[in-house]
Subunit: 449 residues, 2 copies
């Protein structure tokens, strides 16, 4: 269906993606205006509702007010539904685009996921959606179950434990990072079990849907000739490397500062959790405002990189970062192609990575300039942190979100939107149709750098 | 000579460049340790001497102390000599590398400069050096003459006027930005004539030596078939565009803030001068500390971009920036090649631009993290400004240079060095020899962004 309509109506999948998010935002906004969403006496302005809608549908989790103090139980359920829609939307559309691209260039990976999609296109899309919802709900259900049982030690009733377990499981799996404690995961900063389970849920959500499908396939051992795709290998390795570098950096930078006096295992868990979370979850087990400037800047960089494509995460994406880094390393060694995992990376993908990185850096630059004008009380570090958190759909903040000006809120909303849709899609949507040059000019070298 | 020794001893021109700067730094350091360089009773530590040596040879102009209050007249002459050596070194080696690359790929541009270099290589190199010194001294002499005559209104004696005129002319032409007033060009902030002459000198120094040669060629009308090279066109247009954008941005951002109440022509000149200066000169007609955060961030970006290759400027270079921007624009329009001025840009140059930009951004990120630890009193904006100023060999500062810690000074010195040598050269010097892959792997597409 989608595929056919794309052909007939000349809508590119990228435009479909942007259109989906615009509609989803509008619906979320309307849902959040339903009477009964907010507690009695709480006035939530239109701009704040819109901000919350964008934050929820993009699974960013930045909030201009305290969720548990503002939302009713009904409101929290609405919020969870929006977050779920957002997560499913991202994963399915992201994966769908991947399949379309795969189809165009004849990839066998496509076969992998569409393995028994040998019906009509419509059936294929429906199957894909079902598969995503099935996997997502499966992960969330297990997470909720484990956390609810564990939370019984904190809450008096099963219903309270379930409510908190459900919220935490969905918040972690969708990487939305919304919390109903008012202090993110700080109440659990000594509870390694909750942190461990959450980290697993966060990774499963942020590692990318194609990876999950391939993993399922691998575990079920259906196909003896199965091999993991290059995408899965690169994105998983990059995710892991970024996690380790992040945890290591936080440990190193904060061990003798904010974390001074903690036992080593506490330092380790704080470092690991904040590192994993900076990929896109935005949940925190300690107040990140306490970190040193260097750590805040490094976390900003990690959030800028973000998560896997076709996942609930944002940023420039792990693959973009990985390809750029691999190219840089090879280039320094005098090579111009990237060979990795027995495959060669396509030149177009290399160029695309660079475009995404530079565009994103530009966006951060301009947003920083704008916010430094609209938020005179915020420091440059706070501003950069807020911007990268929005672009990486991460949702960590240094406490300035609630005091943002209206102009500031609009900028952050745009960043969440672009971070969610992905810059490359955004670029394709804005750009015109591909034009072949009428004739080629002779090449001429010029001095660079 | 240079060409031959390169072949025999396996030294690449890039290693030559780095070696030259290391030696030049060492010599500068020794020159600045000569007794009589500093005024009686002034103690200058080893690290501060080294900092000044690096700052002078890289024509950056960042200073850890007030020049006129610390140096004797003799010391100032030594400083001028180092700056001259630095400027000539940059231009000649930069141009030399350009010629080597040009030769390797058989460019007719090479013919342009080496037009009568049909003798031995040695004679060619000597000729090139002579040409550079001739043009540089010619510009400086004219500048000194004009400024000395004009400065008679400020000083009592011809010798004082000449001293200040000479220093200002060399400071502007070499884009070194050293000043003996103690307040850069602030004393002349109402003197449009000095500013205008300085801006011309700054541009002539920073536009790139090949441009000057081609310009001379064009003006003398020796060759009827003469055409400007693609390099000259791109670098000149980019330089101009950055100047206009910079001036416009400063005017816009500061008109109702710091510059409020000034007559329009004063606003215009302040904007223009600071914009031109941010390319690499570092001279200022007003205290840049007064600017708003947004302007400071924008100036940091401009300094990051820097000046033309084979010029006295630093940064990622104008051409690098131009190619990346052109590619971005074309990419958004679905095209993968860059056609500009009737020529097509080589793919390798596009890739090289991206590598330089991303490496430079990485360097700024890491330096910012380090300085935020070593300079706890400085704000992130001040740190980023200082870093980009060093990398762009610009030399503007927000007043933190003098209070830098030793570790901070070392970081800034490395940045000035890398900014001067150029990242691409640095990369080649570090990297091993080019290796052809033994066999090619099949290509595989992955999801990006
Ligand atoms: K998030
Ligand atoms: K300079």
């Amino acid at each position: 269906m989608a595929n056919m309509s794309i052909k007939n109506k000349q809508i590119t999948p990228f435009q479909l993606l942007v259109t989906f998010y615009f509609l989803a935002m509008l619906i979320s906004f309307l849902l959040l205006r339903i009477p009964g969403v907010y507690q009695d006496g709480k006035e939530v302005s239109v701009i704040d509702t819109l901000f919350t809608a964008v934050s929820a549908i993009s699974v960013t989790g930045l909030t201009v007010f305290n969720i548990s103090e503002t939302f009713t139980d009904f409101g929290e359920i609405i919020l969870l539904i929006i977050v779920q829609l957002g997560a499913i939307g991202v994963m399915s559309i992201g994966t769908f685009i991947w399949l379309l691209i795969g189809k165009r260039i004849g990839l066998r990976e496509r076969q992998l996921i569409m393995i028994d999609f040998n019906q009509t296109q419509l059936a294929g899309v429906v199957r894909l959606l079902k598969e995503i919802i099935k996997i997502l709900f499966f992960i969330e259900a297990i997470g909720t179950l484990i956390l609810t049982i564990h939370f019984m030690r904190y809450f008096d009733s099963w219903s309270e434990a379930f409510k908190n377990g459900l919220f935490a499981a969905i918040s972690a799996t969708t990487n939305s990072g919304f919390d109903i404690t008012g202090h993110s995961f700080e109440p659990f900063y000594n509870d390694y079990f909750v942190q461990f389970i959450s980290m697993i849920l966060i990774v499963l959500g942020a590692i990318g849907f194609p990876v999950l499908v391939e993993l399922k396939h691998y575990l079920l051992k259906k196909d003896p000739s199965f091999r993991f795709s290059l995408f899965t290998k690169i994105t998983t390795v990059t995710y892991g490397v970024l996690f380790i570098i992040g945890a290591f950096a936080i440990f190193l930078l904060e061990s003798f500062q904010t974390l001074k006096g903690m036992p080593w295992h506490e330092k380790l868990f704080v470092s690991m959790f904040q590192s994993i979370s900076s990929r896109s979850a935005g949940l925190t087990t300690m107040d990140v405002e306490m970190f040193s400037e260097a750590t805040k800047i490094f976390l900003s960089f990690l959030m800028f990189v973000g998560s896997s494509p076709s996942s609930v995460g944002g940023g420039i994406r792990t693959t973009t970062f990985a390809i750029a880094m691999l190219f840089l390393i090879n280039f320094a060694n005098g090579r111009k192609e990237i060979q990795v995992f027995g495959r060669e990376i396509c030149l177009e993908d290399i160029l695309r990575s660079f475009v995404v990185i530079i565009l994103a850096a530009f966006m951060v630059l301009i947003a920083t300039m704008v916010l430094s004008m609209t938020e005179p009380d915020a420091t440059t570090t706070e501003i950069i942190f807020e911007i990268t958190s929005a672009f990486g759909t991460c949702g960590m903040d240094l406490g300035i979100t609630e005091s943002l000006s209206t102009a500031g809120k609009l900028v952050i909303m745009v960043l969440m939107f672009v971070g969610r849709v992905g810059l490359i899609s955004f670029l394709y949507t804005l750009g015109g149709k591909a034009q072949k040059p009428k004739f080629r000019y002779p090449e001429e070298r010029i001095i660079i750098g």
